[in-house]
């Protein structure tokens, strides 16, 4: 525990230091270097201490009569590992990427503070310190978003982001108000001891879902996410998408599984329903998007949905006393959180490399980069397969576990859940399939085909730091997919402390395969599958080259004879999405196309226009915004009244109060 706090202090010191030498050329390497070292230390510490008993510390900070409580329990360790692995890779990436920063002074001070805040949230053990760190996290990330403040869109993004963030914080304030009671027992251990009536508990849970969901990006609280995440520098985008959303998920787990005590079965409903909806809608958004980073941000929303599905299952199982199943679902959730951190970071690093190389982040203006940037494209491809839940990568391992826990759901006593969970399973499968579609599209439009702009044609491979960060994360995507048992075993203490159950120990199973419930029921062996695929691919290649022809002729592509079609004729990202748009988005986003055909003799080219609406924005946020604006305009007249009218107000107020007195007496 002291190590963690020391590291956090170190990070804060770094951000203070960066203020001093911000003008200096060595600032960038110094800051990122130290952050890398500290994150690695924290990561190692959490990896080692997850099995140990929780250790607590109280500092004379924060609420004076309470002090700042910190606690390092297995759950905190699990998330510390996630956070700091992401932070370490981001720092490596920053070492190279940071050199291209136009105004480093706007990034360097806030980057370590952001890391420190995220670590603090996870170890905080009283409501005040928790929310303090939580808001600090929002604030620091906001500052990082505003680093690109000259771009017109950034101001808007930052505005929406911080508003939504503090909205969520208020929801959490309410939740903690309920949990802590009127006397303000803000320490978590007293909150654990103190039990609410079912109604209040339900309210607190809903508030917690709203508060953490608005940070994690649950639909319909997600609107800020696709604005803010892409606006930031790419390694920060990676942190926000890959790590900060996980901190939000940590907060949900902490409140729902730890602080609120024994759940009732219906607590799982909000998580299941919102999670399912989020998973499906998020990836649909991503498919409609042509801005690379925005598409990635939307796919973050999808993965958050997947994690919430798993959490909902865990809650349902826990409520029904199926400890083993609950452990399975919770482990799946944590595992997927880890995995998403890995591949989403890789993807954002890739997008950052693309932006550095071409200055473009619109897929429609990229293409053919696989020739100019082979290494980063390989990393991007691996991460794309991982996020599409394809074996042998890690995404499949965690989603497989979630499917397995869905298959346990018939043991639930509640008929409602029995019927609901398979439906959620459909959404999960749909999300996985659409994610594959989304990343075929993203990878294809960005890296494959022929370059659509000269910028894309003249791209150059990223610097070695960036490549290192990408390759490390991609490698871990593969490793976690091939050796899932190790991760599962490592995560068990967290599950055990929260749901009082655990999965069968995986290390003892031969051939390193994983068994969620029992061997006869289902098992998966990533190593074997990977080995087999690799072996048979290699084997077949060898055989073919040995016994069949090995000559290769280069020729212009065939394309059914439609030769000489220009670069524009190749499939664009928008047209890639067209079938899915027709099938799904006509309902979800009121998508429709309009053909503008000029009359004969008119030389103008014909045009096919695509129209999309964001229902969430149109029906939820736009009305609110306009209402606030309207009432502001209305009330604003009061600024321009005459003194007599102001006196009138005083007079009326006085008379009203006197009348109240007269009536009261």
């Amino acid at each position: 525990m002291p190590i963690v706090l020391a590291c956090v202090a170190g990070l804060l010191a770094v951000s203070a230091l960066s203020l001093i030498l911000v003008r200096h050329r060595a600032a960038t390497p110094t800051v990122y270097g130290t952050c890398l070292a500290i994150s690695l230390a924290l990561c190692a510490a959490s990896l080692l201490s997850i099995g140990q008993v929780a250790s607590e510390t109280v500092l004379p900070l924060g609420l004076p009569w309470l002090g700042a409580h910190f606690r390092l329990d297995p759950l905190a360790c699990a998330f510390l590992a996630i956070i700091n692995f992401g932070a370490a890779s981001a720092s490596i990436y920053g070492l190279g990427y940071g050199r291209h920063e136009a105004e480093p002074a706007r990034v360097l001070p806030f980057y370590p503070a952001f890391l420190a805040a995220m670590n603090l949230v996870v170890v905080a053990d009283d409501a005040y310190s928790f929310l303090f760190a939580w808001e600090l996290m929002s604030l620091a990330s906001w500052a990082l978003v505003m680093a690109r403040h000259r771009a017109a869109k950034t101001a808007y993004a930052g505005f929406v982001y911080l508003i939504m963030a503090s909205f969520g914080t208020f929801a959490l304030l309410f939740a903690f108000g309920l949990l802590a009671g009127a006397h303000g027992d803000y320490a978590f251990d007293t909150i654990r001891a103190h039990h609410l009536s079912p109604g209040l508990a339900g309210l607190a849970l809903v508030l917690a879902v709203v508060g953490t969901g608005s940070k994690a990006g649950l639909v319909p609280l997600h609107v800020w996410l696709p604005l803010a995440h892409p606006a930031a520098p790419s390694h920060v985008s990676a942190l926000m998408s890959g790590v900060m959303t996980k901190v939000a998920i940590y907060a949900f787990i902490r409140i729902a599984f730890d602080l609120m005590g024994e759940p009732s079965w219906w607590w799982s409903l909000p998580a299941l329903l919102l999670g399912g909806a989020t998973a499906a809608i998020g990836v649909l958004y991503a498919l409609m998007e042509t801005d690379l980073k925005r598409a990635l941000a939307y796919s973050t929303i999808e993965n958050v949905g997947i994690i919430f599905i798993a959490l909902g299952l865990a809650m349902a199982f826990k409520a029904s006393g199926l400890a083993g199943a609950a452990a399975l679902a919770l482990t799946a959730a944590l595992f997927h959180a880890l995995n998403h951190m890995l591949f989403k970071s890789t993807l954002f690093y890739g997008s950052g490399a693309v932006i550095v190389a071409t200055g473009e982040q619109d897929m429609e203006r990229l293409g053919g980069l696989i020739h100019r940037m082979p290494v980063s494209s390989a990393a991007f491809l691996a991460a794309s397969m991982a996020i599409s839940a394809l074996p042998p990568f890690n995404g499949f391992a965690s989603e497989w576990l979630i499917f397995q826990s869905i298959l346990v759901s018939p043991q639930l006593p509640q008929m409602g859940l029995k019927l609901l969970v398979p439906a959620v399973g459909v959404l999960l499968a749909l999300a996985a399939a659409l994610a594959a579609a989304c990343f075929v599209r993203a990878f294809g439009a960005t890296y494959l085909g022929r370059p659509r702009t000269t910028a894309a044609a003249e791209a150059r491979e990223a610097d070695r730091w960036s490549l290192a960060a990408m390759l490390i994360c991609a490698a871990f995507c593969l490793l976690a997919g091939v050796f899932p048992g190790i991760v599962i075993d490592w995560l068990q203490p967290a599950a055990t402390t929260l749901v009082a159950g655990h999965m069968p120990p995986q290390a003892s199973i031969p051939w390193l395969s994983i068994v969620p419930v029992s061997a006869s029921r289902s098992s998966y062996n990533g190593l074997l599958l990977f080995g087999f695929v690799a072996a048979s691919a290699g084997l077949s290649a060898v055989v073919v080259h040995r016994f069949a022809s090995r000559t290769v002729r280069k020729a212009p592509f065939w394309d059914c004879g439609y030769l000489g079609l220009g670069v524009a004729a190749q499939y664009s990202a928008t047209s890639m999405a067209q079938p899915i748009r027709r099938v799904f988005a006509t309902v979800a986003f009121a998508a429709h196309e309009k053909v503008e055909m000029p009359p004969p003799g008119d030389p103008r080219p014909a045009a096919l226009r695509r129209f999309l609406r964001d229902p969430v924005w149109d029906f939820m946020y736009a009305p609110i915004a306009s209402a606030v604006g309207a009432s502001a305009t209305l009330l604003n007249h009061i600024q321009f009244l005459t003194i007599r009218r102001y006196l009138n107000f005083v007079f009326i107020a006085l008379v009203i109060l006197l009348v109240v007195l007269a009536l009261w007496g």
Partner: protein, 482 residues
């Protein structure tokens, strides 16, 4: 008087008075500015002495847990403001907005105002306090109108009339309190002394106290700037010299609030009276939400922050209305933090307006690019005032919202709504003021950062770590307030 009977309160009051008279005769504005700083500093020293030795309470003056907080805060902000104004008025003189003659007047009025406020805070007599607040008000009115522009006169006039009516109402309330007291305590000064009133609070005539409190709430509420009596506040802040805006928001509102609290203590101590809480909660929430919406259409940066002061006064009154140890603690904390933060904001806004040559929000852009230090301090100030960590306002708002939600969810939700709306407005403006492509002159500014950093530093510490002594002391006061 012998050195043993040395009374810091009297010393502190005398200092201001002497300084005021002396300043009337100093011609060179540099010297008067220095003298002003010196006097404020001495006042601060005397105020700090109060920590060590509390003078014995008599019928005229008192120093107890409650008002020592205010006195010290008052003296501190007064001192920093005098430092700030020294650098501010120099620039005003160069640009010719002020003449040396007016500056003399300004300094005299400044000390007079400090005297009035300190007297109001230390008075043990409701009548004396009334007179003192009146004095402070009049002197600020003089300073608000000092630019002699049409807008300034308009603002001063509005302030004057509304203030006078408020004063009249407050006086009527005071008289009623005396009437309520006279039957039990007996005629004369004794019936106007806080100490006696509080001691006999339970035996006073409740129905008289009720009416009295209504008048006092509206009368002093006008000075606090609660809606709907707020109208004078935005213009007075916007049109007067920035140091005056700083002390208005930072101190004068607090002084009026202090008076209100004193009376609340008495009324609350009487079983027969109406519940004071609901009244204050209503006014507080009303001001909070109203000001929050008013923030959106502001075009003048100082006026915007003036409205944010109204909003914060709303929160504070709401907190005191909710009462309870947490509520009162939060109220006191919020009050302290607000006056520190808001005056810091006005300091930086003053420099911004000077360097950009305008107070129009639309004409101030990209400060963090054109004037990084100034811009970032402004950002920090707004972040602090918006109740974000690591600053102290976060703690008070945390306590207000959580404790209120546990007791009255609907009210807490309303308060949160108001805070969120206000936050939206501030953030919207901050985005255009501090970020984006800079506009206007980018000449380096000769700003006095010391006061700003001192305030923000204190606010930062308030958010992170509060010394135990201060806490127990706040808690005592919270206990007094019930």
């Amino acid at each position: 008087m012998s050195i043993l009977a040395f009374n810091p309160i009297i010393a502190l009051l005398l200092t201001s008075l002497i300084a005021a008279t002396a300043l009337a005769f100093v011609r060179d504005y540099r010297w008067s500015a220095r003298l002003n700083i010196l006097a404020s500093f001495i006042v601060l020293l005397f105020a700090l002495l109060l920590f060590r030795s509390r003078p014995p309470v008599n019928d005229v003056l008192l120093a107890d847990d409650l008002n020592v907080v205010f006195i010290v805060l008052n003296a501190f902000v007064g001192f920093t403001t005098s430092v700030f104004s020294a650098s501010y008025i120099g620039h005003e003189l160069e640009t010719g907005r002020l003449t040396p003659g007016y500056l003399r007047f300004y300094h005299v009025m400044f000390q007079l105002m400090m005297f009035g406020m300190d007297l109001a805070l230390t008075a043990n007599n409701i009548g004396l306090m009334w007179v003192a607040i009146e004095l402070a008000t009049l002197s600020t009115i003089m300073m608000v109108g000092i630019y002699r522009t049409h807008e300034a006169l308009e603002a001063a006039w509005k302030y004057f009339i509304l203030g006078s009516v408020g004063i009249a109402l407050a006086l009527f309330g005071t008289i009623l309190v005396y009437l309520a007291a006279v039957s039990t305590i007996g005629e004369g000064m004794g019936a106007m002394a806080w100490t006696n009133l509080l001691r006999h609070a339970a035996t006073l005539d409740p129905s008289l106290l009720n009416i009295a409190f209504v008048f006092l709430l509206l009368g002093y509420g006008t000075k606090v700037g609660l809606a709907p009596m707020h109208a004078w506040l935005p213009d007075a802040h916007a049109e007067g010299p920035t140091p005056v805006s700083a002390v208005l928001s930072g101190l004068l509102l607090n002084v009026a609030l202090y008076a209100l609290l004193r009376f609340k203590m008495i009324v609350a101590a009487n079983p027969g009276t109406i519940a004071v809480g609901p009244l204050m909660i209503t006014l507080g929430l009303g001001s909070l939400i109203f000001a929050a919406f008013m923030l959106y259409r502001r075009r003048d940066i100082k006026r915007m922050f003036a409205y944010s002061s109204i909003e914060h006064m709303g929160i504070i009154v709401f907190a005191f209305g909710m009462g309870g140890p947490l509520g009162n603690f939060a109220g006191l904390l919020q009050m302290t933090m607000h006056s520190l933060t808001k005056s810091a904001i006005f300091f930086s806004v003053g420099h911004v307006a000077q360097v950009k040559g305008t107070q129009k929000i639309a004409d101030i852009r990209g400060l963090t690019s054109s004037h990084p230090l100034l811009g970032w301090t402004l950002v920090a100030g707004v972040v602090a005032i918006a109740g974000l960590p690591p600053f102290g306002v976060f703690m008070s708002e945390f306590l207000v919202i959580t404790s209120a939600f546990a007791r009255a969810p609907a009210l807490a939700a309303l308060a949160a709504f108001g805070l969120l709306v206000a936050f939206g407005a501030l953030l919207l403006r901050l985005g255009s003021i501090a970020f984006g492509e800079p506009t206007g002159p980018t000449t380096p500014v000769r700003a006095s950062y010391l006061p700003i950093f001192a305030h923000l530093g204190l606010v930062l510490i308030g958010g992170l770590y509060m010394p135990g002594a201060m806490v127990t002391w706040f808690q005592n006061v919270a206990g007094l307030l019930k």
